[in-house]
Assembly symmetry: C2
Homo-oligomer: 453 residues x 2
């Protein structure tokens, strides 16, 4: 295949990776352990078994470099994987750059985002140990959709607590979850003590991912047949997503290329981890490659947060994890990239960021929409607001290279399409999207409430 003529690189189905890559095998500094929220002692598997499948708990702490993808999961992956790697010829032309820009397109999955990569194995491992029902939270709705579909495919029930503001702004996300057989209710709800408490404290709360997590965990704790599932942050979720970056490496090889810069948007961190972690061994081996996480200026966890132990949810039901955090009580402003509105970042990415193996930048909302518009009008695909953060940074890197008179190979993760986010584009086109940037004072205030360890 001649590198500069192709439009997309398709990896043959039989070359789809059969193993997930576990970066814990290669990290120069291992993760600090998660802590039990009551005892503040390092977590034991027994702490997690009330809500997680044993196999997933094992993956959470494994240091095996490669973990096999079960055959049943691979079979379902093949409905949409390997996903295409596109060369952004038209975007390059529009930018008048000599950089080569590629994007890995995860929007080809039937739910329109990368989230199914982890929903399928999570449901599979739960089914294997006899679980009948899974609870979860969802922000913008991508994760809840993926979990609903995965549950349907393996014959389990799905119960999704959806952040209220998104539930109201994106009613069709609920429709699609129900279409896939899942149940979806706005959070905070009156079904759980956590939800009732949140409503009592602030009857008009727009909800947060942290509150929805409390509700879903509480629900799972209350029933023996039910486990809980998280769509980002945790090690096993990042692990499942590494199929993305592994495919990218094989696809780049097919066109005899290798990235100088790998870019992903970053909320909890799953899609960034997915594309970036498989490049960590190359980086450790001395390759000059930059791994760039892009977060919203309105929720700048890595760039402005603190590397500390914090809860994953609002009320302290989840383990405490060592991660970059803005504080578990932080309510991010209602930016349209709902999937990036989370106070913490994955412990794996946090540790790697702390060790300078990955970088992070924060970008403002209108810049991301401008990048998304240029992308849609050149590369045809309407990107999700979350993914548009990666597009923004990829464009900025190409423009910087042009200024410096150099050519770079840039690859970014287009983690999902935006066909269910047209409401947000409407607002942008009407000049009604704000550039919210969190102030130093707000961050300091929010960080006051970190748990003491």
């Amino acid at each position: 295949m001649r590198r500069d003529e192709l439009s997309k690189v398709i990896l043959p189905e039989d070359r789809m990776p059969k193993f997930w890559y576990n970066v814990q095998a290669d990290m120069p500094n291992p993760l600090e352990p998660g802590l039990n929220p009551q005892t503040h002692k390092p977590l034991t598997p027994a702490d997690l078994e009330p809500i997680f499948a044993r196999e997933l708990i094992a993956q959470e702490v494994s240091t095996e470099r490669f973990i096999e993808i079960p055959k049943a999961v691979r079979q379902l992956y093949k409905q949409f994987r390997p996903s295409p790697l596109f060369r952004a010829h038209n975007l390059e032309k529009a930018l008048d750059t000599t950089c080569r820009i590629y994007y890995k397109y995860e929007g080809v999955s039937p739910v329109g985002s990368h989230k199914l990569n982890s929903a399928l194995p999570q449901v599979y491992f739960n089914k294997m140990q006899g679980i009948k029902r899974i609870t979860t939270e969802t922000g913008a709705g991508q994760w809840g959709t993926a979990l609903s579909l995965a549950c349907k495919q393996f014959g389990l029930e799905a119960m999704v607590y959806m952040v209220k503001v998104s539930y109201q702004q994106k009613p069709y996300r609920r429709s699609i979850m129900e279409l896939y057989g899942g149940s979806c209710i706005p959070s905070p709800s009156t079904l759980t003590a956590s939800g009732r408490r949140a409503i009592e404290e602030n009857p008009d709360t727009p909800g947060t991912l942290a509150i929805a997590i409390s509700e879903a965990v509480e629900d799972a704790l209350s029933r023996d047949d039910t486990n809980y599932s998280l769509g980002s942050v945790l090690n096993h979720v990042c692990l499942h997503q590494t199929i993305i970056g592994q495919e990218v490496k094989l696809q780049m090889e097919m066109v005899d290329d290798f990235p100088d810069i790998v870019v992903g948007c970053c909320g909890g961190g799953s899609n960034m981890a997915g594309i970036a972690l498989p490049f960590i061994p190359d980086k450790l081996a001395g390759k000059k490659i930059r791994l760039v996480a892009v977060e919203p200026a309105a929720c700048p966890t890595l760039t402005k947060g603190k590397f500390a132990y914090d809860y994953g949810d609002s009320v302290g039901l989840t383990p405490m994890l060592k991660m970059y955090t803005l504080g578990h009580g932080f309510t991010p402003s209602g930016i349209h990239a709902g999937g990036l509105r989370y106070h913490g970042a994955s412990p794996l990415l946090s540790q790697l960021y702390h060790d300078a193996l990955i970088e992070a930048v924060a970008v403002k909302q209108n810049q991301t929409f401008e990048a998304a518009m240029l992308f849609a009008r050149t590369e045809s695909i309407v990107p999700a607001p979350e993914s548009s953060h990666a597009i923004r940074a990829a464009i900025d890197e190409a423009l910087k290279a042009k200024e410096e008179g150099v050519s770079k190979t840039i690859v970014f993760n287009l983690s999902g399409h935006g066909q269910l986010d047209l409401f947000s584009y409407d607002k942008f086109l009407a000049g009604q999207t704000e550039d919210i940037e969190l102030s130093k004072e707000e961050i300091e205030e929010s960080l006051k409430y970190l748990p003491e360890v």
Copy 2:
């Protein structure tokens, strides 16, 4: 590749067809000529040049078997083509059938449907002769979206007249057209005499495709730099869509299979033509293959209409074409498959249907939604309401084969996804979709107003 293990058949990019297949070279009975709406004389190229590009007019009447796809169009096709052919393993299991069911998935195009296959060459040929602006109509919005994107890619202006009821029901279709740089207004509008007349006759009209076509044609006739573009019905549109069926043939070959039954939904006819026409030579050569067009019981053009000359629009600005029609004044009920709400069927398909080379069935709305739900919950993809008609018929064929104790190979065209149609699924899930079937009397009344020739 072992046929019964694969999930999807991917045709390598370099095997993408370089020619469209023109069925006019092989039809046992040639098409009857289109007629000038004023003189009722056979159309000359000069009649069409005020609104169509010369190259497209030539394609309209060509009897060359293969017509080359321009390189610039092929380059843009490669952003989403060849499209995958999926084996519907999970659906087969749910139906407990020994039939092999495949579907060609055109929803991978960035606009989510097959419409871009014709939008790109139409805009290209117009650009080649210096046209700066293109008008069109759109029903559900798929065609208007495709034309807006194609115009953006070739640097032309797009002006879309969207059927009012759809404009109101599907506001995000307008958003996506604007995102791609197109202009979109509800039809009937006050911008044209045709629109003003329609409003005067019935201020509350929901609009029809036929009225929107009148508006778009009138607009194009009024400006020298502007041509008109149609998303279905015409021969050159069907021609462009044949890339679908040609790919299917190559993909079936890759797995050493061949269809007994080919299914497509049918409104104007473009996606049915796309998948079915390339199989006409096989049928003529004696292969036992059935080509089945599926239409809504609420708009049963082939199964209940009359094979006669009729206008393509409501007021008689377009040429008269010999086709199956329910009468150009017919206002189809507001079924959710907006793309199938058209009074006529493509002259090519009409002639082939008349000659018993293709078949047709009509299905009711709720049956199509039931099929769509089963499909989404087994094959994961949420189908467009239009495409769900094809799914319904494919399922029915599989069930019939099971009853008869035979195994068939069935392939259908999944012409688009339904992620922008969740409003319609909501209505179905709430039990609010009707089974409208057109009565004999209504059809007779509507057919009274056919033009005399």
